[in-house]
Every structure is written in C-alpha cells, then in structure tokens.
Symmetry: C2
Subunit: 657 residues, 2 copies
C-alpha cells in the first residue's frame, strides 16, 4: 500500500483520514471517510449545502455565490469545489451535518485502499522489453566489394550491433526498402516485432525516430470499447530499471472510450450471436466493431498529437464472443452446448486485413482465450493482477456484462463465468448509465429524512446513475429501512421520495429540478433492485462454486482482486452490504480498474509478459456453470439482501439490526 500524501481531520468528530492523491476532492474524502455532508447537486457547487470551515491548512477552493466574502474570510468553503493540496483540519458546521449515528469508522477509513493501484505489488519484475521495438542504425553504403542485398545489409548490422538473429522481413516492407534506404542516406530506424515464432522487421523510417514509437491497446467489452495510446519510447527510456512503478502513468498518452456500436443489434452477446446467424449478420457485426475501433484509433491519434505511421502495434483483449466478432469468426457454437470457441490462441493478423485503418505493417496481437465465456480480457486481467506469480491464493473478479472469475496462484488457475447482465454498467436500469460525466456514483441517505446526498462523476448535474451509484443506493436504502431484505419497498414511510409509479414502487434519487436539463426525476425502481439482486446473486454464487470446486472457502482467500470499470469508485462496505462481495477482511480487497487494459499494457512493454499470457491461457482450467445444479442452488440462495445465509454476513446483520 502506498504512503498517504495528505491527511484530513474532520471536526467535531476528530476523525482523521489519509489522502492518497494530491488535489483530491474534499467532498469525496469526506464521503470515503464516512463523514456525511449534505449535497444534493452531485457536487457541482449548485446546491451550496456542503459548506465546511477550514481550520488549518491551505486547500484550493473555488469562490461561490453561496459563500459570502465574510464567510470566505472565516474559512467557509464548499467541500465539493475544494481540493486537498495540504494537510487539513476541517469543521463540519451544524447546517451541513447529517446524523452520523450509523457511521462505521472502522470500515470508512479503509475505503481508500480500494482506490490505490500499486502495480508494484501486482506484477513483479516486469523487464522492459517491448514486443515492438526500434533500433537506429547507420549502414555502410554498398560498394562493388560489399554489394550484399539491402535486406542482408540491414540484418547483418542488426546482428553485429544488436545481436538480433533470424529476423524475417515483412513483405510489404521490402517494397519500400530500396528507395527509403538511399533517400535516408543509409541512416534509418527499424521497427521490429517479436512474436513467439521469432523476430520480424515490419517498418523502416529515415533518420532516428526512436522517440516516435506507439502502441494502441483496446479492450472490446460487450457494452463499452476502451482504448489507450501508449508511448513505447517511454518504456524504452525506462529500460535500465528492472521494474516500472506505474505503467499507466509512465506510458499513457491518451485514452478513449465509447459504447460498443453492436449494442443496436442487442444488449448482450447471446442476442448478437443470434443476429449474426441471419444473412450477412456476422459481417455486419464485425464491421460495426471495426468501425468503433477505427473511431477510437482516430481519436487516440488526434488526442496524442501523433501520426498513424508512428503506431507500431495493436493489442486487443476481449471476451470470447467479441474476439470472434472482431476477427469475423462465426460465434454460433459459443452459445450452443457444449460451448466451444473456434480457437483459444490466435495468429497475428495484419490490421488492414480486418478493415482497420492503420499502416500495412501493423499487426494485431489478440489475447488468447480460455473458453466460450472466459475470454482474452480475463487472461489479460489475470496477467495484470499478477496472480500467476504469487504463492498466495487470489480470487480475481471482473464484472462487465458478464461476471468472470479466476482463482489460483502461481501453481494453478481455475476460472468460470456467469451471466451478470449489464446492470453494473447501467444497462437494464430505468435511469442506468455508464460511469461517465453526470452519472451519480455515490449516494448517502439520511436515515431520518431519507434525503439523499449525491456525488456525480465530473461533478455535473445528475444525468442518471451508474453501477457503483446503484450499489451505494440499494445498500443505503437497506440500511435506512427504505427497502426490505427481499428488495421490496417499505411503503409505510413518511417521505415523498418513495412513491408508486406506473412501473411500480420507486425511490427518487434526484428530483428533476436538481438534475441536468431535460432529465426527469431519477429513480431506482423495484425492477432495478430485482435486477441488481439477480446480478449480485449470480456473481456471489459463482465465486462460492469456484472456491468449492477446489475445496476452498472465502475465508481461505489471501487476496480478492476486483477489476472492471463498474468498480472504479465502488464502496466495499456497500458492496458487502448487498451481498455482492463476501464479508471478509476488507484489507484483502484490491481494485485494479480495467483488468484487460492492465494486462495489455504489460504485453505492450514486455515480450516475457506476452509469453506469460500464453502460459496463463494454457494453464487455466474452466469450470462450466451451465447445467451445474450446485450453482443453481447457490444462485437461488443469494437472491436476498445480503443473503439467505445470514451467518455468512455477521457484521452486515449487526448493522441492519
């Protein structure tokens, strides 16, 4: 765990919390610490309710019409527009306070752990040795006594100067070679790609262009497609170090994400597989995802201010269905018993052969898969989370549209998957949305008034609610008694926030006048709650069955790694409260963000890691949950908040009393 950068002490409770990011939002710090402050506008300074008084230290705050000059001089600030850039002592004035009788300091103070990403502790000893690398060489010009072929001259020099042997050349490169070498006066930079069968010369440029070497990594999710542009030159400069502290911050040039355009053919993979069987369906779906990748690639290139011909490599990780759509391989048999993918290991493919608008020499490395529902994204996550290196028993959970799990250590790995549905990505919920600007991501409910306190992403007016927000909200509703353990509303409470609409009972999280323009009351319905209970029940049951398949229990886990965009600001305590996560020591949880991108970054900078990815895919044993009766039993038992087996959630039951 990294060292805290600042500390904030909240008064009157004298509660001190660690802050790990310089400039962290003060409202977020307060919520994470379990200090409740009024806030109904999502954090954009609009409601003026989150007033605090700075007693000690110098934060960065924005002036606001809600704070008079006199108040400003007395130290009044809006927490939502205040950044922690110093150690602080902060008093919550009475008007901002809500009753904190249900605060649980022990859990609250630990929540930052989940946001810490310390790659050092995940994957050890990554040797910087990118699969795609550049060398600058100055060749002697040919003479009658030394009129070796152009390619022979190049490979001779690469062997003599850099000990690179058995290099093959890309055919398309050969066509550019003779003119370029001479135009460049024999001073060129070559790009070489490593794949398990050897080294291949894929590009050549005039002069020294070693500082222009980029890789693009893409995670194709069923709902979301995410891409990153990485500067491989940065990794090159870091070559002397045996370990990189934070690959993302060192390599990342630009990020981009968008919804998977295939969504218009169906929300989930099954619907899309069905569509692909009609007429030209497979090709349509393939072109749709290629179009998305081309868009993301264009955006990354623009954001990064680079040229496309500086991209050397494309890495793609996806679930098995998305992988087969991406490669235009019929996914029909993925959904038919006995659920057989066409391939688990994919040959390198020339990007242009897939319709990608990239230079002809760019090849795609596609992460290997394990089974029909344990794809390359999970192999990438397993790689990135370093399970395969450690003795400790780790459970890796990636929740996207499906829930995929890996359990094991350096000696063995088992995996499984369950249908989670898109609820945690905002799909299938009345006001659900992806975790982007305007999404309500944190919710606290006043146990007396049932008024909510909201925090939105980007601190804009609320547009909808994302996965972590809905988990927060349901947990809070359970804790304050708005709903029963079966997910049904308590209809006897004195609040207009709980109401019956055409679609049934619901709770108003944000009223229309507090929401973004054009957005109606944002509510959570009983249907939404059912949806979340099904989803969390499936995931919990899958975790339990996977452990049981190797004779283990939750108690024996040394580490529980959570990946997936939904969990970016997930509140551990709340996730346990609803029974999504097991009630184990919260110190064992670790959040790694997007697992696929994490593994893809490793593969981009290290060919050893590329080899490990292949090893991981080959060593993983898949446990099929389809037609598994034990799983069905566990699933049904988990259709309750937190669970029908209350013994498994003693602390949660204590709180609910």
């Amino acid at each position: 765990m990294p060292n805290p950068i600042h500390q904030v002490t909240f008064q009157p409770n004298n509660q001190t919390v660690d802050v790990f990011r310089h400039g962290e939002n003060l409202l977020r710090v307060a919520i994470a610490a379990g200090v409740h402050i009024n806030a109904s506008c999502g954090g954009n300074g609009g409601c003026g309710k989150c007033r605090v008084i700075i007693d000690q230290g110098q934060p960065e705050s924005e002036k606001s019409a809600k704070i008079s000059p006199e108040e400003w001089d007395k130290g009044y600030r809006l927490a939502c527009t205040t950044k922690v850039v110093d150690d602080l002592t902060v008093t919550i004035p009475p008007e901002s306070r809500i009753d904190n009788s249900v605060l649980r300091k022990d859990l609250g103070q630990k929540q930052h752990t989940l946001m810490a990403r310390d790659l050092n502790s995940l994957v050890q000893g990554v040797k910087i040795n990118p699969a795609v690398f550049k060398y600058y060489i100055e060749l002697p010009a040919p003479t009658l006594d030394d009129n070796l072929s152009d390619l022979g001259r190049l490979t001779r020099e690469l062997k003599n100067e850099h000990q690179l042997e058995n290099i093959s050349a890309d055919y398309f490169l050969l066509r550019r070679l003779p003119r370029l070498l001479r135009d460049a006066k024999w001073q060129v930079t070559v790009t070489i790609v490593y794949n398990p069968k050897g080294l291949k010369l894929i590009d050549i440029e005039a002069g020294d262009t070693r500082d222009k070497n980029y890789s693009i990594i893409i995670d194709i999710g069923t709902t979301t497609v995410q891409g990153q542009l990485l500067n491989l030159n940065a990794s090159h400069q870091a070559e002397e170090r045996s370990v990189i502290d934070d690959l993302e911050s060192e390599l990342l040039v630009a990020s981009d994400a968008k919804y998977n355009s295939q969504v218009r053919f169906g929300e989930d993979v099954i619907t899309r597989i069905v569509y692909s069987q009609k007429g030209n369906g497979l090709n349509e779906l393939h072109r749709e995802i290629i179009k998305d990748l081309n868009e993301i690639i264009d955006n990354l290139v623009n954001k990064g201010g680079i040229e496309k011909d500086q991209i050397s490599h494309l890495v793609v990780a996806a679930n098995t269905t998305m992988t087969q759509f991406f490669l235009e391989i019929d996914p029909k048999y993925l959904r038919e018993d006995p659920y057989v993918p066409t391939a688990n290991f994919f040959p390198p493919v020339r990007a242009i052969d897939l319709g990608l608008k990239l230079p002809d020499y760019v090849h795609v490395y596609t992460f290997p898969a394990v089974a029909s529902y344990v794809g390359g994204d999970i192999v990438a996550g397993t790689l990135g989370s370093g399970i395969f290196q450690r003795e400790e028993l780790t459970l890796f959970l990636d929740v996207g549209t499906n829930g995929e799990l890996v359990l094991g250590n350096c000696d063995w790995l088992v995996c499984t998957s369950c249908s989670a549905g898109p609820a945690f990505e905002g799909g299938g919920l009345k006001y659900g949305m992806r975790a982007t600007t305007g999404a309500i991501e944190q919710v606290r409910i006043n146990p007396q008034t049932y008024e909510p306190m909201l925090l939105t992403i980007g601190k804009e007016k609320p547009l909808g609610i994302c996965g972590s927000g809905v988990i927060d909200a349901i947990a809070e509703m359970l804790l304050v008694g708005l709903i029963e353990p079966n997910g049904k509303f308590n209809q006897e409470l004195n609040t207009d926030r709980v109401r019956k609409s055409e679609t049934g009972w619901e709770y108003v999280v944000a009223k229309a006048d507090q929401s973004a323009e054009g957005i109606d009351d944002i509510t959570i319905t009983e249907g939404d709650i059912d949806n979340i209970i099904r989803t969390k029940g499936a995931i919990y049951a899958a975790c339990k069955i996977l452990l049981e398949s190797v004779g283990l229990t939750f108690a024996e886990l040394d580490s529980f790694v959570i990946a997936g965009g939904f969990g970016k600001y997930i509140n551990l305590e709340r996730a346990i409260t609803i029974g999504l996560l097991p009630e184990i020591d919260v110190e064992k949880f670790m959040f790694v963000g997007n697992g696929a991108l994490l593994g893809e970054r490793l593969v981009s900078v290290s060919r050893e890691m590329m080899g490990e990815a292949q090893n991981i895919a080959a060593m993983m044993t898949n446990i099929e949950l389809a037609n598994n009766m034990k799983f069905m039993d566990e699933y049904v038992a988990a259709q309750f908040l937190p669970h029908t087996d209350t013994n498994a959630f003693p602390k949660t039951m204590e709180m609910l009393k």
Copy 2:
C-alpha cells in the same frame, strides 16, 4: 546413364546407335547418329526425300503419297514419319544419302547422352517430405467434459496422431473452421505448410481429400514463363521409397509456357528496369507478370482437370530482376553500380496479396537469390543439379537471356553472370524464334551442294529458327566453308543459298516454298552470326574467368551441367565447334533441361531441399564481371569461331582443316 530401349543399325555404313525413348522419331535418331538423310521440309513428310528401307524390325510408320504400295511392301518408309518401337536395321537408299565424308562417328554416337536426364545421378537421397502436406483426421465431437476449442481439438489430434507440434493457424482458415468441422461431422483433411519458422495450418476440407493435393511451380524467365502442375499426392504415395527416379514423370500433371508479356516493355531486363522508373511503370510491369502467371495457372488447372482449391502451394523461381518485378519491389538499384538487390531471401507471401487468383491460403515460396544477376532460378538449378552434394568439381551453366554460371562442389560454390542476350532464345535474330512447333532445331548442310537438311520441332513446316538450330547452322556453315572463322560469308561459292540482301550477306536455310504459309525465305544473316559470336564469346569467357577466379581450368572439371530451354536438343559437337562450349571430354557434359523447374520440383516434394536451397543461396560467392578487365580481355579473345586461342580447340581445328 540409363539403359537404351532400342538399337537401330544404319546400312550401308553398319552404324549402330542406341535409342533411349520408345517411339523416337527415326529421322532424329539418324541425325543424332550422324547419318545424314535428305530432308528439307522440316520433317513433316511433305518433301518425301527422307526415304529409307526397313530391313529388320517393325517400326510404326504413316502411309504417304510419296511411297507407292509396291515400295511400301518392299519396306520403304519416310524416316520423318516413322517411330522406333523395335530394334531396327535400316538401309539408306542412294537417293536419300548425302555425302558422309565429314561424319564424325565418335562424336555422333554420344549425342544421346545429352538428352538423357537421370535425376538419380544429380541429386541423391531426396526424402519425400513435401513442404505442403495433408492429413486426414477424425476428431471426437466436443462434449461438456471436453469442450476444447475447435482449433485446439485439431492441433491436439495432429500432435497425438501425427506428432506435429507448434502448429500455427492461418487467420483466414479460422474463419471457415467452425462451420466446416461440423458440416464434415469432424472428419476432415488438413493442409499444413512447412516453412523455416515452423508449421502452419492453411486449409481444411471435409472428408478425405488427401488424393487432391497439388503444387504449381513457375519459372519466370525474361523471355519465357513456364509453369508445371505437380501432383503432391503422387509424391506422398512414393513416401516409402528413399529416392524418386524421375520426379518430373512421377509428379507432372500438366505443363504450360508463354512469352513473358513484359517483352512489350523491352526485350531485356535493363530496358524494363528503365521503363519501371517512369510513372506507374513498376506497377505496370508487376501486373503484366502477374497476368502471365494467372494465365498459366488457369491453363494448368484446366489441363490438369483440377479445381483451384486443390492447389496448396506456389513455388516461383526467377532471375533477380524478374523476382523483384514479381514482388513489385523497385529493381532500380539492380542495374546501378554496385548492383545491389533489395533482398536475397524473401518472406512467404500470400498469393492473393500479389494479385494472383488463387485461394487465400496459398502462399508463395520464392527461391532465394544470390546477387543482382544470379537469381533464384540459378539457385534452383544448382539445387536440382546436385552440385552441392558432390565432391566432384562441377560447372553449371544456365543460358537464357543472360548466361549464369555456378562452379563448385559440396564444400564451396562460386557464381557469376554475363549478359548473353536473347539470341539463344531466338531473340534479336532476323528469323529467330522460341523453341516451339515450327522452329528449325537441327540443320545439316551438304558440303558439296550447300543444301540444308532441316528438322523442325513438331515436324511442321518451318516458321523460323531457334537457338539450337542457329548453333547447328553456324557450325555447319563453318565446317562446309560457307563462312570464315571471323563469321563473314565466303562470297565466292557457287550456290544461290548465299546471297546479299538489303541487310547484308545471308544464307537461305529454308526457301519460302518450303516454309510455313506466309513465311518468306528463312535466312541466317551476318548480323545474326555476329550476334551469336558475341553471345557465345561472353559465355565462354565467363566460364573461363569463373574457373580462373578459383585457380582452375576447364581440364579440371569433372562435370559440366547445361541447363536452359535453348539446349534441349543442343548438339554438343556443334556447340564446341563454334566455341560456345570448351573442348573437353563430351562424357562430362550433362543436360538437365529447365534448371529452375528441376529445383522447384525438389522443393515441392522435400522440405529438406527447401532448406538446402536457402543454404545454397547463403554459401554462394558471387564474382562480379562488370568492370572486370580480365573478363573483357577473354571476351574479345572469344570473338572468333571457335576462338582466337586455337590450342584450346585442337579437335575442332583438325576438322576445319
């Protein structure tokens, strides 16, 4: 040397010759034996001058209006329409005889040696192990307990059943895999290609198609493009044998040839390289040769009665310039000092990437080259002639538009090339033509009357004269005194066959009334003779310089292998007479036909031979003749018939006396 099949004894000279081919033409046997028979129509039965009497044995003869029924009963036949299918004794009646005072029995009887192709004696121990091979496998259908991916199932079976490991799969194959496996009820034939980096699965077909496995080999010459369709299944059946006697007869399904369409951009490589530098020239020339290949491929497929999807592999050998045009690699620097090719070793290229109309899984193996003027065709010829296996010192000579030479043994190889010009392929001669139907290929001249005796290919009326015909003619003209050693006509002879035309002095080989319709008098001009003298002088000088470069002389050669279409019916004695070949023991000469196709056939059936081809290209040292002053001296010295150094040609000088 193979055993003779028949013997023919000619009377009245009691001269016996061996015949190595059942059904050989009797006129050809007579000429090869040095027995001169009148014949001016080219061998089509039209002139009726080649009458012979069969004394013993049963030939196959066609009836002719030139032989009366009474004569037929007495045994009269036309030699040109008689096939040797039995041992024969034949009398040449006085009316058919020409004076045979200049016959040289010793040489004449050996001429068949040159036509014998005994691959057994060229390359030893070819293990049949094609680079492209097929396996039939029956896979267990997947179950929930065994739901390995389709590709994993295939490779598991190939490993278990056939010990094939580390097989990668062609991306395009993956796209067809899932449907095909199920349609075929898991009984499939896979096509696997070996390349130096490993095994690659390139095709899969339903059921057992092992008997449908074809390879196409192409020799791209500057003037002529030749192709053969090989049945790799035949090679498979021969697998138990350690050695194949005659690859061509065992594998060959169909042959095809055409002029290189690039000819319209220039006769020689230099002109075409110059053209390629203008505008879109390179692409134009590339498309021209691809068009030729597509035509030849279509013809081969039609002739062979096969489907294109039964073709598994394409092998191409060509000189360096043609190789670069074929791959669309700028050949500019091949012709500029210091004559540097772009590459000597070429990666496998997908045939469709070059514009070839073949299935997407067909890859092209391009023979490696050595230098700008020693190309893959010569590497193939060197491979096919087995030099690299033997202790004996061998000189390999391939004469096409250029003359290319390789000297060495199993320990070392040196090579060089000289500009021969297209004369031996009929180019640049007034009535020159390629060695196809209607070409005069053999010429004898009556020393008293100066009347010629002609044999044409296909025994059609003469259309022109090909390489071997013009060598024959010039040698005969020298021997009978029609021309002087400097190549100039003796203008004092009493014959209307020597005459002065607008373009200078010339000899009429075939008069218009004896030639094919629309063809004028076919003549050999002083210009033609000059052309041939330059060409033969260059080749002889190059042979000599190559030997000298390693301190050797012609006398030390154990073997002299001649490759190239021009030499198909070359008469050794005549080639020595004009000083094209050195005067060494004729037993040392060996003719192998098209050397490129010979090596390509080996590579098609043996991956060891593919490895040897790479080794040969890597071990060959090129001696550059450009700017070589010694070569210039030798070249000038050879501009004489047979040579200015008459001591090197003692027997020829004896005959000329």
